[in-house]
């Protein structure tokens, strides 16, 4: 940057280039979310809006799937309510291919999406959560999907499913499915609340929490409900977000479940088909006052560079979005205040959250979308608003954040809900997309230029083909960067499974610990591009 440009910038005469540019309209995305808002104020309406980033046609370009809500008894749409699949054409253009895909309609009110290749056929399949059931769509490999729910026995019947995660809990090379179930709900048993004589959503505590569900993949197209024998069913609560990651580095994928006014769960995978909740011992279940916060979204990654998976959880306004640093033992250390997350998130109701290295400096930053539930909240709290801006928080490498000037989209206010990340233009800069209630979605292109990155796409052979659960350790110069291919993450969302390392200097070596237990080291790595690495046989 020239001295003149710097001087003008400082003088406020030249706007800093945006980190993220809103390219939704230019990309050809015209779908709009619909939540069935009605005078009945069903809580369901306030928690919908999922999105998945997936390459459904294996052309190397990340596509988009948006989950719509639906109509409610008195919340009707003038047009047909449908989900939408957008194919990435390249050049930051997308085409709506929903009608041909067979993904446009479901028989239930839609919530979120989770993509994963459950049958290891090389084509990414899709699970859609909702109320009062969900659906599994098998990718036929020709641009179409087939509803395989009945044969798979994964309907999650009778439940209000929110986020879902594909992960291989028994390391048998097949992706299993966890569904975060929220609460007991019925249109006929709706709660009624008012503020200033106008209908508002009742507090979540008016709805009894439900147990989440775990489906084990039998490998023959069918799944078995193992919620009871795994111990998952014995933990009822209002679950909204889930991320699968090996937090204790024992080679088995564990689960962090974010729950709304129910204690968060840290489910340690015991390796015998069962899980035990260590939320209390880890001190992630409650805040320091013993209050279960309104956990919505959750993501995992190594924020402080110590090689252990840390967790970020989005919460309600005045509760602060939480950051739990994992020192490799229990309890975790809550760094919500020391990281400045409390300072930046105090007025917001958070939903989608992702740890991404947006500026490719080697540190994981936080991308968070926010949006309140109550239209009249400003009448109760002058610093809180109904529509809220997303946040981009830059990590200094030690787990302390500053608010990044990220572009005009971060000055706009939305009713943000589901949020997913992925590199749509394969430039190594991780992009983002989120759903805003009853609005068009927002597709944000990351415009940070850098060459010191390398991307990795893993293909499992003995492990599940998606390599979900793999731990990647990159040694580059004096730095060691640890990443995981996680299941789930954020809120109602599914992501580009490729891993991008920033701040890379060559030579670099990458050690992969596959879910199968195999360790593989790769050294012939170049920066500025993606590498496809297939799991070796031995």
């Amino acid at each position: 940057m020239t001295r003149l440009a710097i001087a003008l910038l400082l003088a406020g005469q030249v706007a800093a280039p945006p980190v993220f540019r809103d390219i939704t309209a230019a990309a050809g995305i015209v779908w709009r979310h619909f939540n069935g808002l009605s005078p009945d104020r069903y809580l369901l309406e306030s928690t919908t809006g999922g999105v998945a980033v997936l390459d459904f046609d294996n052309d190397g370009l990340m596509d988009l799937f948006f989950v719509n809500g639906g109509e409610t008894p008195r919340g009707k749409s003038k047009t047909a309510v449908r989900h939408a699949l957008y194919r990435n054409l390249g050049g930051n253009k997308f085409a709506d291919v929903t009608p041909r895909s067979g993904l446009g309609a479901t028989k239930f009110y839609g919530m979120g999406a989770a993509s994963g290749d459950y049958d290891n056929d090389g084509h990414t399949d899709l699970y859609i959560t909702g109320y009062p059931s969900g659906a599994l769509f098998h990718n036929n490999g020709d641009g179409t999907f087939r509803d395989a729910t009945a044969e798979a026995r994964t309907a999650n019947e009778g439940e209000w499913g929110a986020s879902a995660a594909w992960f291989d809990y028994n390391n048998d090379g097949l992706l299993d499915l966890f569904i975060a179930n929220y609460a007991r709900f019925s249109y006929s048993d709706a709660k009624r609340c008012e503020f200033e004589g106008k209908p508002v959503y009742c507090a979540q505590t008016a709805y009894a929490g439900r147990p989440s569900r775990l489906y084990r993949n039998n490998g023959n197209g069918a799944f078995e409900d193992v919620s009871a024998i795994s111990g998952i069913a014995s933990q009822p609560g209002r679950a909204l977000g889930v991320v699968a990651v090996d937090f204790n580095n024992d080679g088995r994928q564990d689960l962090f479940v974010a729950r709304d006014a129910s204690p968060n769960l840290l489910l340690r995978n015991k390796g015998d088909g069962t899980f035990e909740d260590l939320g209390l011992e880890a001190e992630v279940a409650y805040n320091a006052d013993g209050v279960a916060r309104a956990g919505m979204g959750v993501d995992a990654g190594d924020i402080d560079g110590d090689g252990n998976a840390d967790f970020a959880v989005t919460n309600f306004d005045t509760e602060y979005h939480a950051l739990y640093l994992n020192p490799g033992r229990l309890p975790f250390r809550e760094a919500t205040v020391s990281s400045r997350l409390a300072e930046f998130t105090q007025p917001y109701v958070g939903w989608g959250v992702r740890m991404i290295d947006y500026d490719r400096d080697g540190d994981l930053d936080l991308f968070i979308v926010n949006g309140h539930l109550h239209e009249m909240i400003a009448q109760s709290n002058r610093t809180v608003s109904y529509r809220e801006p997303p946040l981009l928080l830059a990590n200094d490498g030690k787990g302390r954040f500053t608010k990044a000037g990220a572009g005009p989209a971060f000055d706009q206010r939305y009713l943000g809900r589901g949020m997913a990340t992925g590199d749509f233009d394969n430039d190594g800069a991780v992009d983002a997309v989120f759903v805003s209630l009853n609005d068009p979605p927002v597709l944000l292109r990351n415009e940070v230029r850098a060459s010191n990155w390398l991307g990795v796409r893993l293909v499992g052979t003995r492990s599940n083909r998606d390599a979900t659960g793999a731990r990647l350790t990159l040694r580059s110069g004096a730095r060691t960067l640890t990443r995981w291919i996680t299941g789930g993450g954020s809120f109602l969302a599914s992501h580009d499974r490729r891993v991008v390392f920033g701040g890379v200097t060559l030579p670099a070596s990458l050690e992969i610990r596959w879910p199968s237990g195999l360790r593989q080291t790769v050294t012939a790595l170049a920066t500025g591009s993606y590498h496809e690495i297939t799991e070796t046989k031995e």
Partner: protein, 309 residues
């Protein structure tokens, strides 16, 4: 009883319908015999026969109050006040009853019912600081924070010497997101009520919150809480807050001392047991930690069972 006898005398003087008076006399006798149900039934009928008689209503209100039926008592006194708006004794009775009942509703966590009562009480007693303090409390408990600010502000105008109104205003402003105004209120309160320990404790709690959200360091919060304890060492909340701050900086000895003081001064909610469990686990006292976790779960369940209508 004396009140009812006066009523009957006045009725006799005033030429009430004879049936009404007969019933009122019978009510008086029944009340003397301790048969309050029969007395109330007769007075209710007398009030129906003589609908413009405020004294029947106030007597009925008195009976209901003796029967521990505060809602019916308040309703009867309100009717009496409506019939005789200039009767200050009636108004005073009604206000006292309403404030007592409001306190009971707050203890039972019946915040919605409390708000309704508080709004009606403040409307009937617009010059009562206590009524506006009650209104502020219930507005806050119903997340009507901006309205709570107005109620407490009015209370402080009516009774500038009321530290309760000042503390309530500061807390309501904080809940309403008016942080600068809240600090100003507490700073003014410090000057006006320098020896008020509760005021310092409440300000200390606000300063802790401000420090969390990046507005300041914890030093001022600690100083404020300690100054509150210097005035009143039995303030359990101040001890709890200081203990929590100590635990956050892993000063286990200070945390243990403050939590013990909080517990010793009557704090027995879910927070203190959760904090103690965390502290004891850090010190390797797993059995004691487990005991406090059990107490935490018990207190939590009881708190969540608290009535909300």
């Amino acid at each position: 009883m004396k009140h009812l006898a006066i009523v009957l005398f006045l009725l006799w003087q005033g030429g009430e319908p004879p049936e009404a008076m007969t019933l009122a006399r019978r009510a008086y006798d029944a009340a003397r015999r301790g048969n309050l149900d029969a007395a109330a039934a007769d007075l209710l009928e007398a009030a129906r026969l003589a609908p413009r008689n405020a004294l029947y209503r106030s007597a009925l209100g008195g009976l209901y109050a003796r029967q521990n039926k505060p809602e019916e008592a308040i309703k009867s006194f309100r009717e009496a006040v409506r019939l005789e708006p200039g009767n200050t004794a009636l108004k005073a009775n009604l206000e006292t009853l309403s404030l007592d009942y409001g306190a009971a509703l707050a203890r039972e966590r019946r915040f919605r019912a409390g708000l309704q009562l508080a709004r009606e009480t403040a409307a009937l007693s617009p010059a009562s600081a206590k009524a506006h303090i009650m209104l502020g409390l219930f507005e806050t408990r119903n997340q009507q924070n901006v309205r709570a600010v107005a109620a407490y502000r009015r209370a402080l105008e009516l009774a500038p010497e009321s530290s309760d109104a000042s503390v309530g205003l500061g807390i309501a402003q904080s809940a309403a997101g008016m942080l600068k105004e809240s600090q100003d209120t507490f700073e003014a309160g410090l000057r006006r009520f320098p020896q008020d320990a509760m005021h310092r404790q409440a300000y200390g709690v606000l300063l802790v919150k401000l420090a969390e959200a990046g507005g300041a360091g914890t030093e001022r919060a600690i100083e404020m809480l300690q100054s509150a304890l210097a005035l009143d060492p039995a303030l359990a909340e101040a001890h709890y807050q200081l203990g929590s701050l100590a635990l956050a900086r892993e000063d286990h000895a200070a945390a243990a001392s403050e939590f013990a003081a909080a517990l010793g001064n009557g704090l027995d909610d879910s927070r203190i047991h959760y904090a103690l469990a965390r502290l004891l686990r850090r010190n390797g006292k797993t059995e004691e930690a487990a005991k406090h976790l059990r107490l935490f779960a018990e207190r939590k369940a009881a708190e969540q069972d608290g009535r909300q209508p």
